[in-house]
Structures are given as C-alpha cells and as structure tokens.
C-alpha cells in the first residue's frame, strides 16, 4: 500500500499503475504536514491549493494517456531560496518578507515541467548562512529524531520535511555543506552536485563561487531521480556546465563496487570526530570491502586551512551579493518618510531587515575585501583554495572516490552553538573542501551513533562531473546496510503523529 512512508520511486510506480492518484498522494502529504509540522516547523509556506491543482492536472494528463516524466505526480518540498512565481520567497529573511517573485527559478520550472508537485517552501538559515536553521528570521526547525535538536542547516527545513515524511523529496542548496550536513543529521540522503551541474538561475545568491543546488530524498535511487530531473545546462546561468548530465540513475541501480578504490582522508578522521560517528564510518568501509572495493588512505594536508579560507571567501562574496537588497526595487523599505535620502533609507532597511549572522558576514566580507587587507585575507584564502584543489587532485589520482564523515558530531542541541559563531562554523569542517574545489559529494545515512542513537552520515566525494561515482558507491552501501538492518534507518525515528 503506497503511503507517505513509501519511497518516491514506489510512489512513482503506484501512480503509473493508477493504484493511487497524485491528488490522493498529495492530500496524504498535506495531512501529514498539518499533523506534524507544528512540531517540526519545516515549512515557511504551504501551497495546498497550488499543489492540489498541479496534482489534478497530472492525474488528468495520465488519464488521457499522455507520456509523463518518471517523477510526475510525486510531491516535493523546495527550499525557500529558490524563486517560485507568485509564491512567497524569503530566503529566511525579514528583508524579503511578503515578496512574491514574478518568475520561476530554472529548477522550479524544471520540477513543474516534470510534473513534480510542489507542496511548499522550506525553512532555512537566513540567506543560507548557518548550520542549524537557528538563523532563520522565522523560527528554528526541529529535528524529527529529537525535537530539542537542530536538523542542521542551512537547508534544515528541506531535510526535516523528508525525514518527517512530510515530503519524499526536497530541494536544497549547499555552499559549505548546507545539503550534506542536514542530510547527515536527519538520517536521509543529500547530494551536492558538481559546481555548475544544476542551474542557479532564480536562486538567491550567497557565495557565487561556492553555491550549488541539489536533491534530498530517503534513498539513493530517489535522490538520483531528482538529481536527473533538475540537472543540466541552462543558458540563463553562465556558470552552468554545458555537458551531458552524469548517469546518476543508472549508477544508483548498479549495486556493484568491485575493483573501485575508496580513499579515506586521513585528516578527516580520528580524534576530532565523535566516537559513535567514527564507529559507523568504519563499519561502512568494512561493508564496502566485503562488496569488493579496495580501501586506500589518502592525505589532504591543506584541508585544515579550508574552513578558515571559506569564512573569508563566502562572506566576501556575500557582502557583494547582498548589496542588491537595497530597498529600492523589491523587498522591505524602512524609514521612507519623505525626509530621508536613499542612502539613509537603505541603511535603515538593511539594519531592520538583516539578522545578526547576515550582518556579521557582510561586515566580515567588507573588511576582507577592503584595501590594505585584501591580499592578507581574501587573497590568502584564494591561495588556500588552490592548495585544497591540489589535495583533491592528488587524492583522486589514487582513488575513484573519497570518503569521510559528513559532520564531527551527530545533531546538536538547539541553542548549543548559537552564541559561538566559530564553534558553529566548525560543524562544516568536513564538507567545505568539496565546495572550495567545485566537486560533488553525497551524504549517506550509515547508522546511529551508540552514545545518542542519532543518525550518522558518510560523505562520498567524486571528481568534477563524475557524480555517478558516489551514486554507485552510495547505492551499493545502502543495499548492504539495509540487508544488515532489515529495515530503513528512519523506522528508528519517533512516530511524531502518535504523540
């Protein structure tokens, strides 16, 4: 029986055989949202009418025998950083409260064209700056595994929605780990595709040399199906790669890693990681060896500087990107009483509209780019970026994919790190190098930590435009874990609706 606990692939098959209609499936998810989102707060906006209308249109097309895309009729949740025509899009910020974009981002347009049903927009750290959703201007999202903990961030709402069965699929963005870290902390699959693999047209920019859109789902195959639906060249994004999309769906189905070399990054293991995290990663490696892979150790000595470089590069680019929020053409305007000039109104609006972390990063970026400090900070950070790329090149000369934990710890408590920016930044230590080099990476749930019973994520990384490799390894490992556990990892999470 197809229900909210089914995978997206199962839902897609049930829709094809007309066991269930898209309207019924969409209603099931809207009901689930109504019953649990008060506890989770994954959504900032729920578009029930739009979703049901879209579902009805798909059902009619199917009834008339029209050929539909693989995910047609399956619901999805979209991070509130992607523009969707006529639907509130805030990026988690007060400065965009009430704004309704007059156009669709390319990813949203692709989802609509594929007949994927958009349920609503999900919560996030303001402008994607954060690792917990605590920086959202609209309240924190709770982790479905433990409501006192964060789901990670910045795409925490999308991850929580999928983990809480409010949607089988979701879209996120990842600048320094914002898809992979929340996927790890909520026990689902999340992928940051190769930089340039998915169009960013209509995605509110944070750090343009790092930002990438990607998929969330509960299985590797579902993630691949969504990846394939959103990826590909877009002439409206000048950083979009004009090359065929890697064969991620075929790779996810391959279930074979014989002869593959898996590189374990020495610098992303050991003492800096929670014991329960390291234990699950070690078990995963054993399963991969049993499946015929070979483990090699690789060294990436410059990764220890990547976090510092990231917190110069991303704020620098943000200070420039967020200059567009000037109160003139859209968004909030404060203090325009006729007596003040444009600059005063602009400054008052940005003071009122931006949250603490956003201001912190804009000021930091402004500092790092100012004359006299440019070479010492931004310039040095760009050199570290070269070194991080070299480390990856050397490592990929020895291995087909690289692996590490996604995060140093399992999900942390809400409030635990919110007053210590540097401690919060450390939660991205293993994910940031991937963005710096522009390669792709997957977070795969590989079990629960013994000490707290919370999910652990394995990060699998592949060279530029070889995203199929982490789907191949992820799919194989997922199958091995499932046969070991006998049930999906999310069946261990509390059933929120019963409480």
């Amino acid at each position: 029986m197809t229900n909210i606990h089914s995978t997206a692939s199962e839902m897609a098959s049930a829709l094809t055989t007309k066991e269930i209609s898209s309207v019924e499936l969409t209603k099931q998810h809207l009901d689930r949202i109504a019953s649990v989102d008060g506890k989770i707060h994954a959504f900032l906006h729920i578009d029930s009418d739009g979703a049901l209308a879209q579902a009805d249109a798909i059902d009619k097309k199917r009834a008339s025998g029209e050929k539909l895309s693989p995910l047609a009729g399956v619901p999805i949740a979209v991070k509130d950083i992607l523009a969707q025509k006529g639907i509130p899009t805030t990026a988690g910020s007060k400065i965009l409260e009430g704004w309704r974009p007059p156009y669709d981002s390319t990813v949203v347009a692709k989802l609509k064209a594929a007949g994927v049903i958009i349920l609503g927009k999900t919560n996030m750290d303001e402008f994607a700056m954060g690792s917990s959703t605590e920086n959202s201007a609209y309240g924190t999202t709770q982790n479905p595994w433990d409501l006192t903990r964060t789901p990670g961030g910045s795409s925490g709402g999308s991850a929580a929605a999928v983990a809480a069965f409010e949607a089988p699929l979701a879209i996120g963005t990842d600048t320094g780990g914002s898809i992979r870290q929340p996927a790890a902390l909520t026990g689902i699959v999340g992928v940051k595709p190769t930089y340039g693999g998915v169009s960013r047209y209509g995605v509110i920019a944070y750090s343009s040399s790092l930002d990438q859109v990607g998929p969330f789902a509960r299985t590797v195959l579902d993630t691949a199906l969504l990846h394939e639906a959103i990826a590909g060249h877009d002439e409206r994004d000048s950083t979009s790669i004009n090359a065929p999309v890697p064969q991620v769906v075929a790779a996810a189905k391959r279930l074979d890693v014989k002869g593959m070399k898996i590189g374990v990054i020495k610098e992303l293991s050991g003492s800096g990681f929670q014991a329960g995290v390291s234990a699950r990663i070690a078990e995963s490696l054993e399963l991969l060896v049993a499946a015929g892979a070979e483990i090699v150790e690789v060294s990436c000595p410059n990764f220890e500087y990547a976090l510092a470089a990231y917190y110069l590069i991303a704020p620098s680019e943000a200070s420039s990107n967020l200059a567009r929020f000037d109160s003139m053409r859209y968004g909030l305007r404060v203090g325009d009483d006729g007596s003040k000039g444009a600059e005063e109104v602009m400054s008052a609006t940005r003071e009122a509209g931006f949250g603490k972390e956003v201001k912190r990063r804009i000021i930091l970026g402004t500092y790092a780019l100012s004359s006299g400090y440019y070479d010492a900070y931004y310039g040095s950070a760009q050199k570290v970026r070269t070194l991080v790329k070299q480390d990856f090149d050397n490592a990929f000369a020895k291995a087909d994919v690289l692996v590490s934990p996604v995060t140093p710890t399992t999900a942390f408590k809400i409030g635990e790190k919110s007053n210590d920016p540097v401690a919060m930044y450390l939660s991205d230590i293993a994910t940031i190098p991937v963005n710096m080099a522009g390669i792709g990476g997957m977070s795969l749930p590989v079990g629960l930590a013994d000490e707290d019973g919370l999910p652990v994520g394995l990060q699998i990384m592949a060279p530029v435009m070889q995203d199929d490799r982490f789907y191949r390894v992820g799919g194989t490992l997922e199958a091995a874990l499932l046969s070991k556990w006998g049930k999906p990892i999310l069946s261990n999470a509390p059933d929120l609706a019963v409480k």
């Binding site: 950083t239 410059n302 500087y305 053409r329 003071e351 000021i363 402004t366 950070a381 760009q382």
Partner: protein, 98 residues
C-alpha cells in the same frame, strides 16, 4: 594585526550600508576580532608562489545572440516594488537635500 575598534566597525557598516547602534558596533567589534583570529591562519600557507583560485571552473565569458526574447512585463517587474509611480520604481531622493 591591529585590534578592531568600534570606529573600524562603524566605517565598515557605513560602507556596507547598515545602520548600527553603538551597542551593536561594540558587539560586532569583539566578534570580528574573534573570527579574524580564527581565519587569519590562511596566511600560514599562502606563500607568494601559489596562484590564487577565484572560481572552481575555468570558464570564459558566455555570450548569446543579441535577439529579443520574452521577458517580464513592466507590471511584473514592478510587482514587488516598495513604492512606484508612473510605471517606474519610486525611490527616496538620491542627490542630497534640496
């Protein structure tokens, strides 16, 4: 590296067009100092022989043919405007007091 003063932050806030209260400036100066202390280690390995990387893809400019395509209407473009007049964005005065 010189300590970050409240005046330094006030200057940065002015450049970034963010009005800040004295309390905010003080707080930001402390935090900025702390963050810069953590990130300045990039200088340890950034020697002069290393070329900087500004972007993960080596791309040059992307051009398209100069042909008119459908775009937003005037009404759509102005749909989110905080203020508008005569089919245009209405903005506060920009040329100082008159």
């Amino acid at each position: 590296m010189a300590a970050i003063s409240r005046d330094d932050v006030a200057h940065l806030a002015k450049l970034a067009r963010i009005e800040m209260t004295p309390a905010e400036l003080d707080h930001m100066a402390t935090e900025l100092e702390q963050i810069l202390g953590a990130v300045k280690r990039v200088q340890e390995v950034a020697t002069s022989d290393i070329a900087p990387t500004s972007h993960p893809l080596s791309m040059s400019n992307v051009f398209r043919d100069d042909v008119v395509k459908p775009s937003l209407t005037n009404e759509e473009s102005l749909s989110g405007a905080p203020a508008k007049a005569e089919d245009r964005f209405k903005v506060p005065q920009i040329l100082g007091e008159e």
